[in-house]
Symmetry: C2
Subunit: 184 residues, 2 copies
């Protein structure tokens, strides 16, 4: 059975990007520096698990910022949650990009497409919608030792408290990786 | 030489309290549940270190919410950062409570009073002022596996990015404790 996972690199003050969608630091990539050292061990296993997903569920803003990742994720389909119909690129070019108007239906379709692999959730807004709708199974936070000071938050407000369970902690000098299960 | 430390229990979505200054959960104490199990091991060492401080530096809102902790912290002085003069209770009752109009001077006085022990920083707003002014040395985050959904944030906005260094990670089922050094 597929599970849905949100994996995000987050500054200690809760930001996933600057206001202009950069990632901080002198090279505008601060939040992703840890990737460069995650070439072995448990941090690499987290990256590998993310890359081995069977489908992507994303919000529209993230999808459009990324040009729909070129139309698929390593050959796997992308499900975009949006009330509006897709734009021309998604309509004309990308048979594996599917626009769905609600997050619950989108997750059902994404899990069916993913089979026994995971559904990777992309985008803070749709992740919060998935949490509120009870269709997000795990959260992997790569907690980066930096305060960005401002930007786009991973979490804004939710309609109710949600209990989590700590499933795994990976302690490296570059980041503290924490995998949480979402309790139902 | 004294160092200044901010220690806070924080939900994964970055809240240190609900909008009404409760701590979440059915008993309104969710963020502090981990204390009940921190009776041994490295989590207890973190609590012990916090309790062994030599002075407290706090914001006014926190000081007043806590009635100035009765006038001292285990006999040690309390420095309140506020532009306004103290209210009657602090003026009349508490010789160990000192109101100071700026965070840099307050920290100098608190460190002098603390000697070789730590200055514990209390309150999100004053902690952000101390970070911005370059007078906060360490941050201890007790990351609690819960999403509160709304409330008072530990971090709002800062004037610039600040690099941190991961000094210690304590992995327990109840919380992920991370001690950061603030880089200068």
């Amino acid at each position: 059975m597929s599970k849905s996972v949100l994996s995000m690199s987050v500054s200690l003050d809760g930001y996933i990007a600057t206001p202009d969608d950069f990632l901080g630091g002198a090279d505008d990539e601060r939040l992703h520096h840890w990737f460069a050292t995650a070439d072995s061990g448990p941090a690499k296993e987290l990256v590998d698990a993310e890359n081995a997903c069977g489908a992507v569920l994303t919000g529209r803003r993230t999808a459009e910022l990324m040009d729909h990742w070129g139309g698929d994720h390593a050959g796997n389909p992308i499900f975009v949650v949006s009330h509006r119909p897709p734009g021309p690129a998604a309509r004309y070019f990308y048979p594996k990009v599917h626009y769905v108007t609600d997050v619950v239906t989108a997750m059902e379709q994404a899990k069916a497409a993913a089979g026994d692999r995971t559904v990777e959730v992309r985008g803070a807004s749709v992740a919060q919608s998935a949490l509120a709708a009870g269709v997000l199974d795990e959260i992997v936070v790569h907690q980066i030792p930096v305060l960005l000071g401002r930007g786009r938050r991973l979490f804004e407000e939710l309609p109710a408290e949600i209990e989590l369970e700590i499933l795994q902690v990976v302690d490296t000098p570059e980041a503290t990786h924490i995998r949480y299960g979402v309790k139902r």
